[in-house]
């Protein structure tokens, strides 16, 4: 098996440093508010990282291309699954068809009504009032 491609040590080290660097970048970027662009960026960086792992650590770059095809196929079927499912989940009650079908009747699962309004240390939730917490879906 000595005729197999042997990746030089340097390559591995460079790729690993890139991965560390990019991990830092995503964390850093996540603290900047870019709106919905945050997730796009995070996924972009993750995809770059994933490609580095696949091509270099997993040797796809030098392997038989059939293996690459198998890997890309898995991503394609994943894509099909997501996209076609979302054609339903995103468009219920949309396009002017029966808007009452869009949302669940009650959004909150019923068991929340039975939960005590205390945090796990037994303090009533009110006592945390002074702590700042982010506002979400109103205005």
């Amino acid at each position: 098996m000595s005729d197999h491609h042997i990746t030089p040590l340097r390559t591995y080290l460079i790729i690993a440093s890139c991965l560390f660097f990019l991990s830092g970048v995503t964390v850093w970027v996540s603290y900047i508010d870019l709106g919905s662009f945050n997730i796009v960026l995070a996924m972009l960086v993750a995809t770059v990282k994933a490609s580095l792992v696949a091509f270099f650590f997993m040797h796809l770059l030098w392997d038989d291309k059939k293996n690459l095809v198998l890997f890309l196929m898995s991503l394609m079927f994943f894509g099909i699954f997501v996209v076609i499912t979302m054609i339903d989940t995103e468009f219920r009650g949309a396009l002017g068809f029966n808007p009452e079908t869009k949302n669940p009747i009650t959004k909150r699962a019923s068991f929340y009504g039975q939960l005590p309004l205390t945090d796990t240390h037994g303090y009533p939730v009110d006592s945390h009032d002074d702590i700042h917490h982010g506002d979400d879906d109103h205005h």
Binding site: S74, I80, I84, I87, D88, T89, F91, R92, P104
Partner: protein, 540 residues
């Protein structure tokens, strides 16, 4: 003759352990065949029980609960224990390496493991039966399946486990087709059964993992109430249906593609004619496998999914019909200027063409969303899927067994009885399931233990014929195995139908433990009936 003394895989090596630990694909295939047929009989008996109950309205024979358990077990056994694992597992295992000229599949140990995983999963299914059954329908729709007090967990666990066996078989076959072909046997020289198994395996490895994760989520829903599928906990039952059908629609092509492959072998061999449109058939296999992944939502036309997806799914559904049609027409044209003999395999193949065309075309009715809203979950659907599964897959499977029986086991069955049984299956089948189309159109819902009087006539008609169907299938299979008892051995070199692929021309019947005594050399394509005459050799 000394030839009779030749080693074959059935007798060599000997001893029970040599079977239990065998890595030989042919022995594993035989074990799949036997267990598959046992499950088929079990499912079939349950079906007859169901038909008996439905012969007349009212609860005269079994109670509602029993009926619900029976139809669920019937569906689950037939699908998850018989046609998905056992048909590729049996015929595929026995024939694939022979057809590509390999000594075994790529990963023999994995192959044995896959059989044991299947058996292990089947134990859970048997446990379910002994422990009182399960009553959710084979689709396990939430939230009923998260609430039902029947054995949902053992059954889904069994299905989860069997899923792995199916994945491993698929993986093995793909690697075998890609890497184990002998030199000269290029893609376009492969027998079409190999193409069909290749397409099947692709679907198996891509779709089955999603079934596995769906079953895991369903079990977690029961244990932890994770709230992904259960509306009481904020989940969405329609999402479950997406998950389930993302597997289960492609799974219907796991069931039918091997059958297509079998027909593509039987028709040219028994018509002694080059197959019509080789490349079209080969590529339509792949395109069916692919398009099959895009249409799952046609099972959900009344579920309340978005109007947009209704339209998309309806649109794509029709396109499965086109490559399938290409195959059907090509098979028929194959007989043109051939030399057709009406042997048992050929009779099964012709009745496949008849029945599957009905089944497939009624699939197009169901794909039309406006019409499916009326037909969904009625007996029209039941009739449709029995026409494709029983009339398509099972009939082709029986044909395949008759075709390769002398090859695989070195014995010949009584051909007259085989022909009579083949006619019995054809008539019994139509008699049982054709009335169900009418029942469905007139509004008879499925999964009903009792029904109103307006449907009596058609139901009792259907029950009557199902008995004939059952007898015919039973005797067709008994007739095959009887050849062992009768020791009706064929000559080791025999090639009774004059087949041209490697399994007929280069190895003995039954094959040598290592498949080929000498390394096979590729000489002619599997369908070159216009170039070479291969004698029909059948002695004794």
């Amino acid at each position: 003759m000394i030839e009779n003394e030749k080693q074959n895989y059935l007798t060599h090596p000997k001893g029970i352990m040599s079977w239990l630990l065998t890595l030989d694909h042919k022995r594993i295939g035989l074990m799949y065949l036997v267990s598959g047929i046992l499950f088929f009989f079990m499912g079939g008996l349950l079906a007859l029980g169901m038909r008996l109950e439905l012969a007349a309205p009212g609860n005269d024979f079994i109670s509602n609960e029993q009926y619900n358990n029976i139809y669920t077990l019937h569906g689950a056994i037939m699908i998850f224990l018989f046609i998905i694992p056992a048909i590729p597992g049996a015929l595929g295992n026995i024939l694939l390496p022979l057809m590509v000229g390999a000594k075994d599949v790529a990963f023999p140990r994995l192959n044995l493991a896959s059989f044991y995983i299947y058996s292990f999963g089947a134990l859970f299914a048997l446990y379910t039966i002994i422990n009182g059954g399960v009553d959710t329908g084979w689709t396990f729709y939430t939230p009923y399946s998260t609430q039902s007090s029947s054995n949902v967990v053992p059954m889904t666990l069994g299905i989860f486990i069997i899923g792995f066996s199916s994945i491993l078989t698929g993986l093995n076959f793909i690697a075998t087709v890609h890497k184990m072909r002998i030199p000269g046997l290029t893609w376009y020289k492969l027998p079409l059964f190999v193409w069909a198994l290749y397409g099947t395996s692709l679907v198996q490895i891509t779709a089955t993992p999603v079934l596995a994760i769906t079953m895991v989520l369903l079990m977690l829903e029961r244990f932890l109430g994770i709230g992904i599928f259960d509306p009481a906990l904020g989940g969405d039952p329609v999402l479950y249906q997406h998950f389930f059908w993302f597997y289960s629609h492609p799974a219907v092509y796991i069931m039918i593609l091997p059958a297509f492959g079998i027909i593509s072998e039987i028709i040219p061999v028994h018509s002694r004619k080059k197959i019509w449109g080789y490349k079209f058939i080969a590529y339509s296999t792949l395109s069916i496998a692919f398009i099959g992944f895009l249409v799952w939502g046609h099972h959900m036309f009344t579920s309340g999914q978005s109007v947009f997806s209704q339209i998309v799914f309806s649109f794509i559904t029709y396109f499965v019909g086109i490559p399938t049609g290409v195959k059907i027409f090509s098979w028929i044209l194959t007989m043109y200027k051939g030399q057709v003999s009406f042997t048992p395999p050929m009779i099964y193949a012709l009745s496949f063409l008849f029945l599957f065309t009905i089944g497939g075309l009624t699939g197009i009715f169901l794909g039309a969303v406006a019409l499916d809203i009326h037909l969904h979950d009625t007996y029209f659907v039941v009739a449709h899927f029995h026409y494709v599964m029983q009339g398509g897959t099972i009939v082709a499977f029986l044909g395949g067994l008759h075709h390769w029986w002398p090859k695989s086991f070195g014995t010949m069955y009584n051909q007259t009885i085989a022909n009579i049984c083949a006619f019995g299956v054809f008539l019994g089948f139509n008699g049982t399931f054709f009335p169900q189309f009418l029942l469905g159109l007139r509004g008879m819902p499925r999964r009903y233990a009792t029904y109103s009087d307006q449907f009596v006539e058609l139901h009792s008609y259907s029950t009557f014929w199902s008995g004939i169907l059952g007898f015919s299938i039973f005797f067709a299979i008994v007739n095959l195995f009887w050849s062992f008892v009768k020791k009706n051995k064929v000559d080791p070199g025999s090639n009774p139908w004059g087949g041209m692929s490697l399994e007929w021309t280069h190895t003995s019947s039954p094959p040598h433990p290592h498949n080929f005594e000498t390394d096979p050399v590729f000489e002619h394509g599997p369908y070159d009936y216009d170039k070479v005459i291969v004698e029909k050799t059948y002695k004794k």
